[in-house]
């Protein structure tokens, strides 16, 4: 027997009561996990337009599923606790308890996988944001194209809210035409020079949109001719730090989402601990109550354990059971060969 403990009637009653309370606590934790999943999903959906794919959504999806399953599972555990001290009502839970243990163990594994995934998917999130932001900056000027007309507003709000500029930094705006042709005077010499100065015929300038401006700068925002020191009085491009936001939006968003997931990490880990303790306590309660019901005196002392045999023997038993189950499903080749011969003969 693995980790056996003696239980008298009073201890069994106390275990049942304590486990009932713990199970209700686990139900609250399940609701908390569900709400956490909903919150993360909403935060990811808000910035959906600057993300290229939705792979990171697997984290909040699993959290929501686990939350709902956990509420149901732990509510069932409370019903088991209520029935455990009543010898007439407890036997009907016998079959279900095996399934319950499997489901609870799976929920713990899923929660652990969520914690692992939230770190492992950081690279994919970064990739997704890189492509999404690049597209957003490219389509910034297309406020008259259906499907892209809100990119300008989205990027402006994003840059102002997260205090960032461009994909990696503000120079990303120099490589893209972000002023639409509708607002360019193509008869002007300056515009024609700029368009002819690059291969693709785009109107590129060393300027940024107004949403890159940093309000904490001591001087009014300089948006145009940023690389030209002579264009502005008392201006040095290399040493000017506060004029625009220095951070790139990709880094800002990654920091934000990683911060969110890191701060939920301890909460998820404590929920895993609570679920594990409910699982172990319920196993002890089950074995102790079953042991007591098998005695002549149901109120006498019984033993509670985690596994009837040791770990190795239990695993071999499980393997043997699984193989016999497979053998039943497989058709026996010898009997199959004999019956057609008998039919021929």
């Amino acid at each position: 027997m693995l980790l056996k403990m003696k239980f008298n009637q009073q201890r069994r009653v106390r275990l049942a009561q304590g486990l009932w309370l713990l199970s209700w606590l686990a139900v609250m934790c399940g609701a908390f996990i569900f709400c956490l999943g909903v919150f993360l999903k909403i935060e990811l959906l808000r910035r959906n337009e600057v993300m290229d794919n939705t792979e990171i959504h697997v984290v909040p999806n699993i959290l929501m599923m686990v939350g709902l399953a956990s509420i149901g599972t732990n509510w069932a555990a409370t019903r088991v606790c209520q029935d455990s001290l009543d010898a007439s009502r407890f036997p009907r839970w016998k079959v279900l308890l095996l399934a319950w243990f499997a489901v609870a163990a799976m929920l713990c594994c899923l929660l652990i996988s969520v914690v692992v995934l939230s770190y492992a998917l950081q690279g994919r999130l970064e990739e997704s944001l890189k492509i999404g932001l690049r597209n957003g900056i490219r389509f910034y000027k297309d406020t008259d194209v259906p499907g892209r007309c809100f990119q300008k507003e989205t990027i402006d709000h994003l840059q102002m809210e997260f205090r960032c500029c461009g994909n990696n930094n503000f120079r990303d705006w120099f490589e893209v035409q972000w002023v639409s042709g509708r607002y360019l005077d193509f008869t002007s010499k300056d515009v024609k020079d700029r368009i002819r100065s690059n291969v693709d015929g785009r109107y590129l300038l060393d300027g940024v949109p107004f949403s890159c401006c940093n309000p904490a700068s001591p001087r009014p925002c300089l948006q145009n001719h940023l690389t030209d020191n002579t264009a502005h009085y008392n201006y040095d491009f290399q040493s000017e730090e506060l004029n625009l936001y220095s951070r790139g939006c990709r880094q800002a968003l990654i920091d934000y989402y990683m911060g969110l997931m890191n701060s939920t990490g301890p909460g998820v880990l404590s929920v895993i601990l609570i679920q594990m303790s409910v699982l172990l306590s319920l196993r002890y309660l089950q074995t102790a109550v079953e042991g007591a019901m098998a005695l002549e005196d149901p109120e006498g002392d019984s033993e509670g354990y985690l596994l009837q045999k040791g770990v190795k023997e239990t695993l071999e038993d499980v393997k043997a059971n699984v193989l016999t189950m497979l053998k039943f499903t497989q058709v026996d080749p010898t009997t199959d060969g004999e019956s057609p011969e008998a039919a021929d003969a």
Binding site: T143, K152, E153, P209, F210, P215, N234
Partner: protein, 353 residues
């Protein structure tokens, strides 16, 4: 005839005491809510207090916070009193305190009403304060190197971005103010000198606005310079001009924001006031019923409870007479000294003409 007289049996008195105990504890919670509302309003006002010229609006959250704390204290005491009031022996302990307690509760309930009315009446004063505050903030926008004013630029930019507003009444307010500091102006350039000489005050004025006035909903990149000159930019028509910058003035935006907050707070405080009035009425009935029982001597008898022992007119007349008699004592003394009435026997001179 007493005002609002009701007869109470012993069971009625006990039930009333229990109900009032519960209501007093609920009032402690509403008092805490009142305090929390005061704290919330104070934080909201302090967020943007740099653009307000005077801090008189802070009287409103301070009033709410003090009445909230007072509510918690008075109703906590009331809970204890009401629990004891069911039993006549225990009531004797509180007998002397009851009248002052009821009077205090009445005044405190009146203060809650004043707090609620203040929420609604502060709007004109707030507008005046915002007008002056925003005008000063715009004047000192460029002074990021002057101690005491160096963060006004950041505050004003963040205000305009957050509330989607520009200037005091509109974006034209920026045309009347020099918002570019001389440190960033090339004073040797003839263009700059022309501008400086073009107005009486010698300010560098232009029809441009800061970047924080730019509207994020405009379909074209923001135009900040030569905003009112439609020929200075390509394809810059009336519609583009309207959508380019935020149309609202910041004074109106802030006024709307604070009026909305204070209206909802005012409604909540009025509801709390009605609840407190209910508790006060219950306590008054319980006090009068218990006193009448003590007067009757037997606690199992029925007793009357009322709000006022006599009618409003009689009570008012009684109180006025008391106050008049207080004054009369001093008056008769004076008359004796003035007219030298012979009441003390030989030795005093009587005037006989």
């Amino acid at each position: 005839m007493a005002v609002g007289q009701v007869t109470f049996t012993k069971a009625d008195r006990e039930k009333l005491a229990e109900l009032l105990w519960l209501l007093n504890w609920i009032s402690v919670l509403t008092g805490a809510m009142l305090f929390a509302l005061g704290v919330f309003l104070k934080i909201e006002i302090q967020k943007w207090q740099e653009v307000m010229s005077d801090q008189e609006i802070l009287h409103v959250p301070h009033m709410l916070m003090t009445t909230g704390v007072a509510a918690c204290g008075i109703n906590f005491l009331g809970g204890k009193i009401c629990l004891d009031c069911a039993d006549t022996n225990k009531f004797l302990r509180w007998k002397l305190v009851m009248i002052p307690y009821v009077v205090c509760t009445f005044f405190f309930t009146f203060c809650i009403l004043v707090g609620a009315l203040m929420c609604y009446s502060v709007s004109t004063q707030l507008e005046e304060s915002l007008f002056l505050g925003l005008r000063n903030a715009m004047r000192f926008y460029k002074d990021t190197d002057t101690p005491g004013r160096c963060f006004l630029k950041t505050s004003l930019d963040l205000l305009q971005i957050h509330f989607h507003c520009c200037g005091n009444s509109g974006h034209q307010d920026w045309f009347k103010v020099q918002w570019v500091s001389n440190r960033y102006l090339d004073l040797s350039s003839s263009a700059v000198l022309d501008r400086l000489r073009s107005n009486v005050g010698g300010h560098f004025l232009m029809d441009s606005v800061p970047f924080s006035c730019c509207s994020t909903f405009s379909p074209r990149p923001c135009i900040q310079q030569q905003v009112s000159n439609s020929s200075a930019h390509f394809h810059y028509d009336k519609r583009s001009q309207l959508m380019n910058l935020w149309g609202r003035g910041c004074r109106q935006a802030l006024l709307d924001h604070y009026t909305a907050i204070m209206t909802s707070i005012g409604v909540t405080v009025l509801l709390i006031w009605l609840f407190e009035l209910l508790v006060l009425t219950g306590i008054r009935y319980l006090q009068t019923a218990m006193e009448n029982v003590l007067r009757l001597g037997d606690e199992h008898l029925e007793s009357h409870g009322w709000i006022l022992e006599k009618s409003f007119a009689e009570t008012a007349r009684l109180n006025l007479n008391i106050m008049k008699n207080l004054g009369k004592c001093y008056q008769t003394e004076e008359r004796q000294q003035d007219h030298n009435i012979n009441t003390h026997g030989a030795g005093s001179v009587t005037r006989q003409h």
